[in-house]
Assembly symmetry: C2
């Protein structure tokens, strides 16, 4: 057995109460068998941590089962094949898969998807702007929220992996106005200075509703919600007739230990004829070909920019995840191994 088959892995050992902490996780080592027929052994290069994982740490039924205690967590990963029992995959090939939170993975053929390195683009982009978060932005804006040219768009968590793509796709598709909220002045400056948002505001320090009113005095047609809570209420209040909200995430309440309040102004949805629609990206994979063509093209042409916040080392994965929930990332939070 070679050292390649010794995997260092992060397990969930306690269900977080409120914000996750170091002691909720444990780093373990595990020996992996050599790949048999139909299997590949992969050394992971990049792991992703995403907000949705917080929900899976709770022991509640949801659209995906909760992470099991005492087992290695899972999540998006990108690695290179070390040894292969699969004809179509050879050592050195890049593969994307869902056995993240570990340095090595032994995969069945159907669990691994070969990807091509893109010129001038880090393969980690397959975990972000060209991966699940990018597709979430694309399908959520264009399908779930039924964006159309001329709409005024507001996106919360706008400096995150999904939000930064939403705002730029809206701009490239002809939004009349693109407004974003983020949690620091630096992020706000990045949104307007680099990504082409028309306006952005720092949601910290003072209520969101008046900031949104100033940023979009004529109201909004579309709200892409990554945050929930106060942001959602402010967005409902700013919506024009027939406005649509795509409910994608609620990071503001993921660590909540008390029952959050709902939007007190939801009654406005009747007279204004608003639509609020929740979604998970897995239901919208039919958009993947269009997404790759359009967003891939914009990345190649430089019209759509993306950022990564990179944390090094498997042992830092829990910290990367905790930092994500605290907004310590700009763009996609990535763990590099």
């Amino acid at each position: 057995m070679t050292s390649a088959s010794l995997s260092r892995e992060i397990q969930l050992v306690a269900r977080p109460q409120g914000a996750p902490k170091d002691s909720d996780f444990a780093l373990v080592e595990r020996e992996l068998a050599a790949p048999g027929a139909g299997q590949v052994l992969v050394r992971n290069l990049f792991l992703t941590v995403d907000p949705y994982m917080r929900g899976r740490m709770n022991d509640v039924k949801s659209y995906t089962p909760p992470f099991a205690l005492g087992e290695t967590m899972t999540g998006g990963a990108l690695g290179e094949v070390l040894a292969s029992g699969v004809d179509a995959l050879k050592p050195g090939d890049l593969v994307q898969h869902d056995l993240g939170w570990r340095t090595h993975a032994l995969l069945d053929e159907r669990q691994a998807r070969r990807v091509e390195p893109l010129p001038g683009v880090s393969p980690s982009a397959y975990l972000g702007v060209l991966g699940m978060p990018g597709l979430t932005a694309y399908a959520g804006l264009l399908d779930v929220a039924a964006f159309k040219e001329g709409d005024a768009v507001f996106v919360s968590g706008a400096a995150g992996a999904v939000g930064s793509a939403v705002g730029q796709i809206a701009r490239l598709k002809g939004a009349s106005r693109v407004v974003g909220s983020a949690g620091s002045d630096e992020k706000v400056a990045w949104l307007t200075g680099e990504l082409g948002f028309d306006t952005a505001f720092n949601y910290k320090g003072g209520p969101v509703a008046p900031k949104l009113r100033s940023a979009a005095p004529d109201g909004i047609d579309v709200y892409f919600d990554n945050v929930g809570g106060e942001h959602l209420e402010a967005a409902i209040g700013a919506m024009k007739p027939f406005g649509r909200a795509a409910l994608c995430g609620a990071i503001s309440v993921y660590n909540a230990t008390e029952v959050p309040t709902g939007p007190r102004n939801l009654g406005l949805a009747i007279g204004r004829q608003l639509t609020l629609r929740g979604f998970i990206v897995g239901s919208y994979t039919r958009h993947y070909p269009d997404f790759v063509r359009e967003v891939g093209g914009w990345i190649a042409s430089g019209e759509l920019k993306y950022e990564e916040t990179v944390v090094d080392g498997i042992e830092q994965a829990p910290q990367a995840f905790m930092g994500l929930l605290e907004g310590r990332n700009t763009g996609k939070m990535i763990v590099r191994l």
Copy 2:
């Protein structure tokens, strides 16, 4: 001038704080001119009072402007032509129009729509099951909530004009289960005994969520909301994946003097991929021909039943309206003159 042209009318003289009271209204008499060319003088036979009118008594911008203080209120009415300056309308013709809350109305031709008396059906049905409330039920269920055969449907305010039609249309269109909530045991018995609801419950006395869980243990696909508040939260909690809510009314909070709470479980909309859509019937008049054909047919065949709670006399109109907000009606609340 004949006595026919003396109209007795209800004006709003104070904006209600909380529940409306007698002193918010005044009965006045007004002399109407004889109809000129292009006008008709109508004696009203039936007036409608509807929940949406409560919102228009507040001085807030909404999809319709507020009722003006010191002016006669408006609303659906059905009357007979007394004198006509219009070729197409002659004395004795039945017309439907929007100058309710009064015994007589002087109308321009474009304000009056001639309707045919239906055999065996009171013309007041044009203000209820065959009118705006019926179309609200039909379009809200089939279009806004995208009902499809086999769906499990829950409707609140199920003994009201809209709710009683929603449940029956759902049944006739092949719902797998029709559940209604109402505010008295008598109404509940009427829903299951007369209207063919599979289950109904009295929402008073104890929380709604467990009652709904018992009534629909496998969950619901569609919720038609006439009530808002606790009902909406319970419905969200009971929704199956890809469930849809048509937000039609929120009678539970129309008299609220404090800001209501929102549904605290709205975050479930993400993972369950729910859609909540508010609407007003005026945006769905394109369904009117289908509505008349289908619902008219079901009434003629006896498959769809309706009830009216009739209050006599223009001076009782405010009481009828207050009673409506308190749920003292079964089916459509009608004022007969």
